[in-house]
Amino acid sequence: MRTPYPALLALAVLASPAPRETHADGKGKPAHAREVRAGDDMPTSAWRKAPPGAKPERGDTAILTLLQDIEGLNPYTSSTADSHYVQEMLWPRLMEEQADYYAGPPSFTPYVAESWSPAADGLSIRFTLRDCTWSDGTPITGDDLRFSWEAARHPGVGWNSASIVDFIRDVEVHGPRDVTVHYTERYPYQLMDVNDVHILPKHVFGKIPFEQWQKHGSWEEQAKVSGSHWLLEKVVPNQEISFTRNPRYWEPGKPYLDRVVWKVQGNMETNLNALLAGDVDFMQSVLPKDADRVLADEDLLLYSYVTRNIGWIGWNTGKPPFDDVRVRRAMTHAIDRENIVESIFYGYAEVAAPVIIRSMWASCPEIEPLEFDPDAAEKLLDEAGWTRSGDGVRAKDGKPLSFILVTNAGNDVRKKISEYVQASLKDVGVAVEIKLLDFNQMTQQLKKHSFDAYVAGMSVATKVDGRPIFHSKAAEGQFNYVDFKNPRVDEIIDQARLMSDKEAAKPLWAEMQRIFHVEQPYTTLYEPRGLVSLHKRFRNVNVTALRPTHNLHEWWVPASEQKYK
């Protein structure tokens, strides 16, 4: 699963910073009895396991929430994360990706594919499919997989992630349950790529020519045929989408819940209020400032886990003053990141590692973040020729050391961070002007490298691949907004991203991190924890960094606690 939505961490902090006793290290025992905290064994998954021997019971409805309506039910014509969570309920995949990406390339468990074996030359994988059917009784076959792959790559369909299947040369169907996927080259993420192909029923979707897919609407009619755990019941635009159990799902007894309803919420505050009032059972991105309100409610549990997000300040290395590494390092020294984590995230975050998130296997734990040290910052700036003048703002050749810090409007965390940075840098004689831009507008400016510095975040892929962000080629049109070009970094990325041997790749990634640590084109700020709240009646809930509803079909409620009949 690869869903990097750059700069889209829709976090908003409204309240002022307040002290709070928590776990700044993000580890250790649960801080609160009602917090389900991901353990060290699997930091990316907060799993409330049912006690051993407990028998799952059937019944009840889960009322989940979305902050934005989905973009239809066809995975190839929609792009938001919320759409994909919902679509996951209808369209099966070959395998189930596990949230263990932090330890290496993710592992997979059987789903529609019963078993699979890679060829000796590493250029193909043969899958044996399970004997299972779509909800209308038609068997799920290799033809469906081939059809879905064709849809994924068809130019008329316009899947916005079509490049994922670039390396899949062919899907060869030997028989209804026997398929070989051919790749153009050997690389470690072959399973992941083919698994990003959602399997659609050919006998239903095939009736609509690919050329018409982009403008076909919500696909509600087609989505009546499901191949996964649930059946679509009803879609009310901008209000709710409901599902019932798919009686033809092949695992006996599952799913345990009778129904699942997704309600579209106006905003986070509404979602929180509806949750506290008991109108809904779920909130997928509880703000750190609201965590206490959730924990104070006896009916709710707070699930917390390590996410794939990282927030940073990017310095435009292509133009003064940030073309000078001393200035960039001085900036990092002048910003107290521990304080940001404590006061803006209430401890539900960690100070970020240089560019590769701490939870990822490739991240090198030996690199300590640059310390908060205003004196060191002042010294570096003096060395770089920016000296203090009368009014307190440093200057060089008569030019004051001032810059514009941009971030996107409507994101209060980023606004707060920007203000904090502004105040911190003033102390070392740097004048900062904050500019809040509309998200689209900001992206345009960043792409053109017409900015000084920006605050943003990134949700990284479950694989380690620096190409779209850190490679010098990514400065044109991709995400290397800071225009940082380093030949050694390019070499490392080109080499390491396709290496199958994790242990061999590790030192390379560590070297890249060291370069970023020394060069500081980014001041990496924080890696936030994910906070999800759910009603306590649901048992066996596994909230992971891949999806808050990772094992929705295995959730169950004891009969005595069931709320909806």
């Binding site: 916005n160 490049s163 635009p237 579209v264 008991g278 109108d279 509309d438 992206t443 909806y564």
Partner: protein
Amino acid sequence: VIAYLVRRLLIGVLIVWGVYTLTFFAVNLAPGDPFTAKESAKVSEEDLARLRSLWGYDLPVFERYALHVRKMFWKDPEVLESQGGGLLFEVRARDGRNVVGARVQQPPATLLLKATQRSRLEDGAADVTLARGADGAYAPVPIRRGRYQVGHRFLTIGEAPATIDAEGLTLTAGGGTLSARRTREGAPESVRLVRSGGAELVLPASAPGSYGPVEAPGDAYSFSDAATATPVALAVPDGLLESGGFGFDLGTSIQHKKNVVEHLKQPLLNSLLLATAALLVQFLFGVALGVYSAVRRGHLLDRGLTFGSLFVYSMPGFWLAVMLQLLFAVKLGWLPVSGMHDEGDGSILDLLEHMILPVVVLGLAGAASLARYQRSSMLEVLSQDYVRTARAKGCTERGVIWHHALRNALLPTITLLGLSLPFLVSGAVITEQVFSWPGMGREAISAITNRDVFVVTGITLAATTMVVIGSIVADLLYALVDPRVRIK
């Protein structure tokens, strides 16, 4: 009056058109497009470029505008298997004839395919009735070639796919294409056919011994270059649903991939419901309280109302909304927090319960300010001579206030009412957001942030139309209540 109305309406249309055009360009010239937000590390430049060209974003903005305007009123015939309303026709061959079946979302018991007059004469077509089966599908029935009308759409049915052997070739027609295979030695470079109207169709050789397939519209074809050839009258079947001609199309939503009119229908109704209720509350309370405090001027109650209305008026709407939500929904649990319905409850009562808080938020602030207006205009009127005359005449106090004074004091209120009409369709952005009310305001926010241009222009169109209509209605009402105003 008619001339006046026509003039006003013409100006109105110009205004609406101008605003529409301005909005179109404003959205398009704003930085970013609907696809920038989709950018992420896994979306390649080519993927995005492809998406852009699929939606016409590779054209210059003026060309897009021209295209949009053209499409707005003129619908190009399209080959559609299914379209709007959930109607799905299935045309297929069975035993050498075409059969047509259909499925609809809310199926009527029977579905009538009316043969057009011309097709009756030319093709001998006749009406066909499809009866709904238990599974919601219509059992296929045989159908002749020709043109049929279903509702406001047309369905053209060709002959069933056919294979004909002639001149050493096997011609195959089906799915709107023609192809040929050689059955005798001596293959020509291409196969030439003539349509019934005289136009020529060439099937080039695609492989040794086979030709085509080429696209061929439903028609009868015969060989053109063999003198001895017998006309083969090969018909190409094409079950296609057309709806060309005049139409009204505000474009397609890029986010929802749906026709904008279709897409905005439900939000419009939802906003209308909420806004009508809010306006009712606003005007009933506003006028009543205004009149009351004017009559009881200086009383404790007047002062209380003045203070209260100023208090409510100065409160930011979103804050009031959240506070009411916290108090009545979260703390007390009397009312639902948000949405339109509770889980598993679709009753009117439930809907009304959900409306209370948003209506109060929307109506209260309006009522507060309106009461102030009403109070001052009432005071002014009450101090006038004719009111004294009326009292002197011996009218009851009640008659004086409600009949003589209020009629005049209502004038400014009527203007306000007229100006409030656009709010009925534009929706209340913040209140809808806080209460998760699926109306136009929420659509507008999401459309603007996603640069979903035709949804934005569609909402603007609805709103400006209402502004124009509202101001005309206000003027007419003015004339109705104020004898001094004459419409010319």
